[in-house]
Symmetry: C2
Subunit: 364 residues, 2 copies
């Protein structure tokens, strides 16, 4: 497969189920992917056991050789990574920085794509008075390779009263311009053609200035896209009182992390929120994963909703040049959700039941 | 007035109405403060014209001599600061960094106190299914003098494709411990005695580590306080699906900025959210201000709700050692809100009408 043509023949897929419910939702996603694959396209899977379990057993997080192998695939499907909270053998950051963020940084996933939408039949925590039956359907384009997530910074005199710890947010014209361009391209393809830059330019003046200027600059090349700006704190208010106003949001790595969890929450969709860590230049495989974590508290009980993982395969199919197959998966999910809602069926389903139901719709 | 005894006799109050609706809500807050003052206490006001208007007219933001004068007061009441959005003569950050943050930093306001509560009769954007008629009543203790707000960082090759801009979050054991201690002291005085640290320890590992360690350390001295930890992204979800769970939240400057706007939003209270920039050591005057901004779009029309500014005077009274006067103001606000709600009265009120109504209740 190459950058310009859709994946044909055999597609090499690296699969990282990870920990907890990652192990349960990933098989369902693969089940759906298999039936959704366009004819002539075959997903050949290589499974990589990475995550808390491997780290606790071997001390390995992401060996260079494994990263090298993963790099040679066409795409990556990831379930969820993370051990038990407060496990003393698993200091915070080991897996996040060493595995998840390392993959995103090394494979240059500079676009972290997170669509948000209130699906029919799904209950939002927001009141009817806020939602007014209107459509909530936006996408966050979160920068994935710089900002406060670089790991730059450090600590001095750790554990003493004189300790000082810094975190350095690094923002380059190179890094900001490319993600802003991607966001504009996406806005241009959407009916409302609207882009909102979210930042905190009034306090983080250096970083804010480069984000603001480059957004204005790229905006000048896209006169058909309406552009506005919102501080991250104000975005909290708009997101909970008028989420309909958003179409495409572009923002940095940390603000994007925060706002996409809020977006998932207000669309009732923490079990439905899909994401893609996309390398739009296709110099390395992109990675698709649900926004949710490994949820150790419900792991192994077939209680997890695999819908977010399944919707992540739709993003994967779209990225690989199969928009129709992607749309089929999305429609199947929609039908699954809305028919259950219409039938008033709120009985909990096993993880595999949901996967079976959606796969059957895709196949049918 | 001294650190240990309540303010008696004449209290020197620096008043900064600021811009936009700041000019309208401040007189109402002063109206209430005057009638709420305990007998024997007289607020002597000095008014300082600072903000967008002064800057645009004179180029002055906060002259050192003015800061010196303000410093000699017992407390500061601030309305709101900020000019028209996108005014080319008012680059982002000038007033925020030069006035608001400079006051907070120079006067060592290391506790930014932001109570959140759903007042009777106030409509939350959250659904009834989420709220279940339960009480939402928590307070965010936001660090005010370090973290990503220091202004450390800078930019190189600005305006070129090689631009790089950094923002440095500075976190010291000194700065973290003192705000964590303040938060524990507040938790201890509340019925539920619960404290939640909010951070992003899994990504911002250096800063996260000092916050986490010091919270654990101070927790050991407060066995009666229940302590938990939540990532900032997860906090978005809990805040919109189960805000009842929060009691005291302690967090850094940037996360605190974000979460307090969300808190104000979900409690229906962006017009009701009060805040104090507190120097608990009383080495300089503390500053009280509504969370809302100057809202240039509705300024000068007597449309702004002065309740947040009025509730800020309750925080001011409490800080100065007059908890009963503070409680009287709060009760008056509560009565005002709930009686209107019971009467089904949703007609808009003029800013001064609200101030008059609450002042009358305090006086009566
Ligand atoms: C687990 C963590 C490193 C990650 C992030 O902060 O990006 C997660 O919260 C996410 O949003 O994918
Ligand atoms: C205006 C701005 C500097 C300020 C902040 O970010 O602290 C405001 O948003 C607030 O929360 O008081």
């Amino acid at each position: 497969t190459t950058a310009s043509s859709p994946a044909q023949g055999s597609v090499q897929l690296a699969v990282i189920p990870g920990d907890g419910i990652g192990q349960e939702v990933t098989p369902e996603a693969l089940k759906v992917l298999e039936v959704a694959a366009p004819s002539g396209v075959k997903f050949e899977q290589t499974r990589y056991d990475l995550g808390a379990e491997r780290y606790l057993a071997t001390g390995e997080v992401l060996p260079d050789s494994v990263l090298g192998e993963i790099r040679r695939h066409d795409a990556i499907l990831l379930g969820a990574v993370g051990g038990k909270p407060n496990d003393p053998n698993l200091p915070p950051g080991i897996l996040e920085r060493g595995l998840l963020l390392r993959l995103r940084f090394e494979l240059d996933h500079y676009v972290n794509l997170r669509p948000s939408r209130i699906f029919p039949g799904v209950t939002s925590p927001l009141s009817e008075a806020v939602l007014k039956g209107e459509e909530v359907d936006f996408v966050v384009v979160r920068e994935g390779t710089e900002g406060p997530y670089t790991g730059n910074g450090g600590a001095l005199r750790v554990g003493t009263p004189a300790e000082v710890a810094t975190e350095v947010s690094v923002n380059t014209a190179y890094g900001v311009e490319r993600v802003v361009r991607d966001a504009f391209a996406r806005a241009q393809k959407r009916p409302r053609k609207k882009l909102t830059l979210v930042h905190k330019t009034n306090v983080l003046v250096h970083a804010g200035s480069v984000w603001w200027r480059l957004t204005q600059q790229v905006a000048a090349e896209h006169p058909d896209v309406t552009v506005d700006y919102m501080h991250i704190d104000a975005a909290m208010i708009h997101m909970t009182t008028n989420p309909q106003r958003f179409d495409v949001i572009v923002t940095d790595n940390l603000f994007g992390d925060i706002i996409t969890d809020l977006a998932a929450a207000i669309t009732g969709g923490i079990g439905l929120a899909a994401s893609g860590n996309v390398n739009p230049d296709r110099t390395a495989p992109s990675m698709f994963e649900p926004v949710h974590g490994s949820a150790p508290d419900i792991a192994g009980q077939q209680k997890a909703d695999p819908t977010a993982a399944i919707l992540s395969t739709a993003l994967l199919l779209d990225h690989l040049g199969h928009p129709e197959a992607a749309a089929t998966v999305e429609r199947a999910v929609l039908a699954d959700l809305s028919e259950r809602a219409e039938a008033g069926d709120t009985a909990p389903r096993r993880t595999s039941e949901v996967g079976d139901a959606i796969a059957a719709r895709v196949a049918g």
